[in-house]
Amino acid sequence: MKRDVLKNAFDKQRQFKSKTVSYRKKPLQSAKQPDVPKGLYEKCQSCGKTFIAKDMIKNMFVCPSCDNHFRLRAIDRLNITVDPHSFLEKGLGYITLDPLFIDGYEQKVADYKKQTNLDEAYIYGYAQIESIPCVIGIMDSHFMMGSMGSVVGEKVTKSIEYAMVKRLPLIMFVASGGARMQEGIFSLMQMAKTSGALKKLDEQGLLFVSVLTHPTTGGVTASFASLGDIILAEPNALIGFAGPRVIKQTIKQDLPEGFQRAEFLKDKGMVDKVVHRHALKDTLHTILKMHQGGSE
């Protein structure tokens, strides 16, 4: 069995070889197009109104009518957050494997890779925000609900370690349905791994800002997402450990209005500030500026 795994991995490496080349041929900055899903119009999930996609991009994917914050692709998040051409992606070349031999898992990952043009649900690298250097990590909920398997866990840890090596502040945009069920116990252990790495970052006196976006749930909430020195959240984002459906089933009663939303969490003291997407870059910049002296 072990030999099979190795052989699979080797085959994947070879497939990856050709893929890497084509992936790199499209530089990240110019990949604005895939955010307009088929056609030129975008429909708001919340109020049902339709808008011209070009206007939506200009409005940072916030509904002009009801202020609903759309789920962002990693590349769009990058474009609205960091200075143009400042992003240098790190941590390429990770290959997701199938430790439990789950039917259809490999195919699913392959499909998502194609759809999203990403290797996995998390990218990170060096970037500048208003000329202040930082390490930025972004989860993409379009890749298998941004779930955390071995590769996402490893890349999150690597991004923390990269921040430590470069002695830079770390900003993470979180959007995840939680641990990746298909990778079983390995996914669970990523929670301990990422949290432990953040402890090291903390001991070195570096800043970690965690930005929670819709949705942030499960094992990700119960690990690195909740460990920011400063925790920001986007309006109305769903943030919680257990999913609302599971809670409803367990306690057999209806959940209060606005339960597990960003404003609810701020009210309960779990989030520092709810920030509108339009103001997010400025807020992050101010925070980075205030921490430029470091903690020494």
Partner: protein, 318 residues
């Protein structure tokens, strides 16, 4: 035939034995029981182990504490909100040495289970656990955690008080605790709720305990939209002690008596005590730095993936 049916058959055989007075028949039934135990009761599927791990008669954390430790003093509360009865903690002697114990408590009856919320902790439970671990660090005594929970409690209060943050904080702090932490999964190790007291230098499992990312029922309903496929899920999930040892996620397996821990609790407690003694002894001459680094490195390495060394590729623009 699943393990519970097998167990019923065994009990029936044993009852027969009591009623008999004919020497020859007794001998024959005795050998029948032995054969049965060595054949049927030993060959267990993953689902059998799930049922044994959840068995109503299985020794609970309190049973283990009473049998393995001396002079246990329970310490209550998180100094902030309240006292969670799903996680008990305190100090005790282990073979003459003071230790801190943190354990998830299941009940054996319905009343006990309601009292301890079926061993599903709230945030205050995890915060109590962390408080006691910090205390252990201050007074330089080893920490022993006993894991037995279906998972952290999914409820309105739990969410409002930051279930996610409480678990995350434990993972964060436990990675750098400077005294040895030894965990034993004695029954169910369910998801983040178990891991939150399981970031240990050594994690051991009782042979028939399980440790997984989610209950088989939850897993089946998420992956196949059908909770009734839990039995299949259990086989797929690789949640038995042998699977996890194979994966390198745990350090050791503590053998159980044939038929499960509840068939001979004394033997189970002895095995636990022996393993604990070995584990704790191995940290006697180690510095605090060594202890916390070993723990961190162990978890840092866990992951199942490949990385392609793209530095060696031609045509890649870096």
């Amino acid at each position: 035939m699943d393990i519970l049916k097998k167990e019923k058959k065994l009990i029936k055989l044993e009852e027969e034995l009591i009623e008999l007075d004919d020497e020859k028949k007794i001998e024959s039934i005795k050998s029948k029981i032995e054969d049965y135990k060595h054949g049927m009761m030993q060959d267990l599927s993953a689902w059998d182990r799930v049922m044994l791990a959840r068995h109503m008669k299985r020794p609970t954390s309190k049973d283990v504490i009473n049998a393995v430790f001396d002079d246990f003093i329970e310490l209550h509360g998180d100094r902030n909100f309240g006292d969670d009865k799903a996680i008990i903690g305190g100090i005790a002697y282990f073979n003459g040495q003071p230790v801190t114990i943190i354990a998830q408590q299941k009940g054996k009856t319905t009343e006990e289970n309601i009292e301890s919320n079926f061993a599903m902790p709230h945030p205050e439970g995890y915060r109590k656990a962390l408080r006691l671990m910090k205390q252990a660090e201050k007074f330089n005594r080893p920490i022993i955690t006993l894991i037995d929970t279906p998972g952290a409690f999914p409820g309105i209060g739990a969410e409002a008080r930051g279930q996610g943050e409480a678990i995350a904080r434990n993972l964060f702090e436990m990675s750098a605790i400077e005294v040895p932490i030894i965990s034993i999964v004695i029954g169910e190790g369910g998801s983040g709720g178990a891991l939150a007291i399981g970031v240990a230098n050594e994690v051991h499992m009782l042979e028939n305990a399980i440790y997984s990312i989610l209950s088989p029922e939850g897993y089946a309903s998420i992956l196949w939209k059908d909770a009734k496929k839990a039995k299949n899920a259990a086989e797929v999930m690789k949640l038995t002690s042998y699977d996890l040892l194979d994966f390198g996620v745990i350090e050791g397996i503590i053998k159980e008596p044939i038929g499960g821990a509840h068939h001979n609790p004394t033997q189970t407690y002895e095995a636990i005590g022996k393993r604990l003694q070995q584990s704790i002894e191995s940290y006697y001459n180690r510095s605090s730095y060594e202890i916390k680094t070993a723990r961190y490195t162990k978890f840092r390495k866990i992951g199942f993936f490949q990385r392609f060394n793209y530095d060696n590729l031609k045509g890649v623009v870096k």
